[in-house]
């Protein structure tokens, strides 16, 4: 099966696919690399691995309170810790859509496809708001 979408929208679709491919690959490699460094002790963990069975049955807010793990984006400044470094891969995977949508916006702008350009802008606002912690009340 090949892409035969009347040719009109092929460019945006292929550009989106390319960005999705490379950002996903980067996310997976980061996720696996940081996780291996974490569990094999190459990067020290803030919470000792042996202690995890005592806290992984707690609700998320209680877990943060008991362990003193950082909230929001505070982990970005502590990437030397194995358990927090693993968040980097998760953040890249969660951010793939943002990269892809930003990549196709110029195509819509050039075509003067205002509806989809606005749709993309709104989607970016939603995803960035979710990513920023704005919706968690911790901005």
């Amino acid at each position: 099966m090949g892409l035969k979408d009347a040719g009109q929208y092929e460019k945006e679709q292929l550009r989106y696919a390319a960005w999705l491919h490379w950002s996903t690959l980067l996310g997976f490699l980061t996720l696996i690399g940081t996780f291996v460094a974490y569990v094999f002790g190459i990067l020290p963990a803030r919470i000792p691995l042996e202690r995890l069975p005592q806290v992984w049955n707690l609700p998320a807010d209680k877990y943060l309170e008991v362990t003193g793990m950082p909230k929001g984006w505070a982990w970005i400044g502590m990437l030397g810790s194995g358990d927090l470094a693993s968040f980097l891969g998760i953040a890249i995977l969660s951010g793939c859509s943002i990269f892809c949508i930003l990549a196709v916006m110029p195509v819509y702008a050039k075509r003067r496809d205002w509806i989809y350009l606005v749709l993309c802008a709104l989607e970016i606002v939603i995803l960035v708001s979710a990513a920023s912690g704005l919706l968690s009340g911790r901005h």
């Binding site: 696919a17 491919h21 992984w56 998320a60 968040f87 995977l93 989607e123 912690g133």
Partner: protein
Amino acid sequence: MSFSTFCRNGAGTDAFVMRCLPLPLLFFSHPAFAAGAAAGAGAWWVWPLALFVVCFFLGIVAVPAGVGGGVLFVPIVGSFFPFHLDFVRGAGLLVALASSLAAGPSLLKAGLANLRLAMPLAFGASVSAIGGAMLGLALPANVVQVALGLTILGIVVLMAVARKSEYPHVPASDPLSGMLGIHGIFRDAISGEDVNWQVHRTPLGMVLFLVIGFLGGLFGVGAGWANVPVLNLLMGVPLKVAAGTSSLILTTASSSATWYYLDNGAILPVIAVPSVIGMMIGARIGAHLLSVLNASVIRRMVIAMLFVSGVGALLKGLGIWA
């Protein structure tokens, strides 16, 4: 018997999968295992390893059963593993996100996922998914567990009764889809024919995607189980394009809810990462076994597994079963 001979023997592979699949669940739900975990005893790596093994098997059956990994992951892991439901849902979202991201590029290139169709539906779903995530993390775990059990039982009914239409008949596109330019042509590899498609009932489809996104964010289950019927049966999208576009929608909808879970400390790498890796490897093997496994048998087995885990979640939420 060599492995290749074994794989060529369809009936043998079916029987093997049918016998092996429940074993990890039986083992991990054994009272002695559960008691050790509850006391926090034992090596920390036992549960992540168990998670990897279970997700590997779930990945194998998810492909032939035609469901996403998330919908199997959350009720099963939530019922049989000692992790809090917050972390299970966070990991479930990541499993759904990772699976859809991995499939996305090839689906787009093949014309099986349509960006123009996905974009407006994904926007609604990603907004409501955040709402679902907010509510899910605010409600007590037992309330979410009961609601999850009921939802999973609803999915069982949907999977059991929903029909599919390879090429639904759409006499005319609706004004909204016409304005958005949602239509396409794809070449069916089996028939070799170009198939023109257009959609109808777009406003109702958008409303339903709001509901689906909300449930996905609330329970962390992904939403392929609902996306495909809405796209295919309601909006008239050809089945293959519906399945591919559903995956593309999930890349955005799951992403917004995942951010919220991550921001609120509800993602534990030691739970999420083995799940994602196990599911991805299993799904690759499941895709290879697609031609030798009896998909309808696997689908019935998955429905039975969902039923058991749905009842388990319900009983756990009601405090009848710990």
